[in-house]
Point group: C2
DNA sequence: GTTATTGCAAACAATTTGCACCCAC
DNA sequence: GTGGGTGCAAATTGTTTGCAATAAC
């Protein structure tokens, strides 16, 4: 495995930084295409994977789709199981624990994810009413 | 959506409780088959989805595969990005924040996930240490 | 020049869906 | 009886892989 960060990977990083929100590989691909380069979808996936292995990029899965973002942006989310809406959270109570782990285990920790799941009010109401049809 | 928990869903819950570790839908399917019932894979997926919407079951994604577990077991993990090994963690520093959120937002919180990602020692060595920052 | 990276298309695998049948109420 | 739940197989979709062409050093 190579220590090199390729040009494609750099444009991926750059774009992730620019848009600054979790984005799917496919959308990333479209965006990159819209800009300058002819890049392949496979290259996007391979680049993202390589960047993850470096601890530069992280992903979380929503509805069977991976959303990628820079590790630097350590925002966490509150996600509705009904509609999938995600609300970003400010606070992060985990840093200390992370530091502790870092010392007590032979593990190099790159980042952590913290996500709350539940039901937003609209979805709560919709689930209660049996009148949902299409 | 119906308030009923079906028989299939009950056997799913029961099995999740028995094995008490995150398991994929496919493995769950095989296990259920091995036991008693002729259950379909689609039913397993549909059941798991329904149970998620109730806040009874949660899932996390590893290597493009969803692993399901009871919400009750709020263990968190330290996962190696290289080999995918997951180490369960005891401590959970998040409960208080969860309680706070519960009150300040119109959101019914079912559970949270907390996961640390990094590189275990073997994987660190295998990736002939490149120009890593710090 | 040698080796790693890329794009494309085909392959793959996990998950979802259409539909006829069946069961619970 | 009726409406939702189920099994099966086909369809879908996000992701990975084989391979020849290309770019990096």
């Amino acid at each position: 495995m190579s220590p090199r960060i390729t040009r494609s990977q750099e444009s991926i990083l750059q774009l992730l930084k620019q848009i600054d929100r979790p984005i799917s590989a496919q959308d990333l691909y479209v965006e990159l295409r819209n800009r300058d380069r002819t890049i392949g979808l496979a290259t996007v996936y391979r680049g993202l994977e390589a960047l993850k292995l470096r601890g530069l990029v992280q992903s979380r899965t929503v509805n069977g789709e991976s959303l990628y973002s820079l590790v630097h942006s350590d925002t966490h989310y509150l996600t509705c199981l009904g509609c999938g809406t995600s609300i970003p959270l400010e606070d992060c109570p985990v840093r200390e624990l992370e530091a502790t782990l870092h010392q007590s285990l032979p593990f190099k920790i790159y980042y952590h994810t913290l996500e709350f799941f539940g039901m937003c009010l609209p979805c709560q109401l919709q689930l209660d009413s049996p009148t949902v049809r299409e």
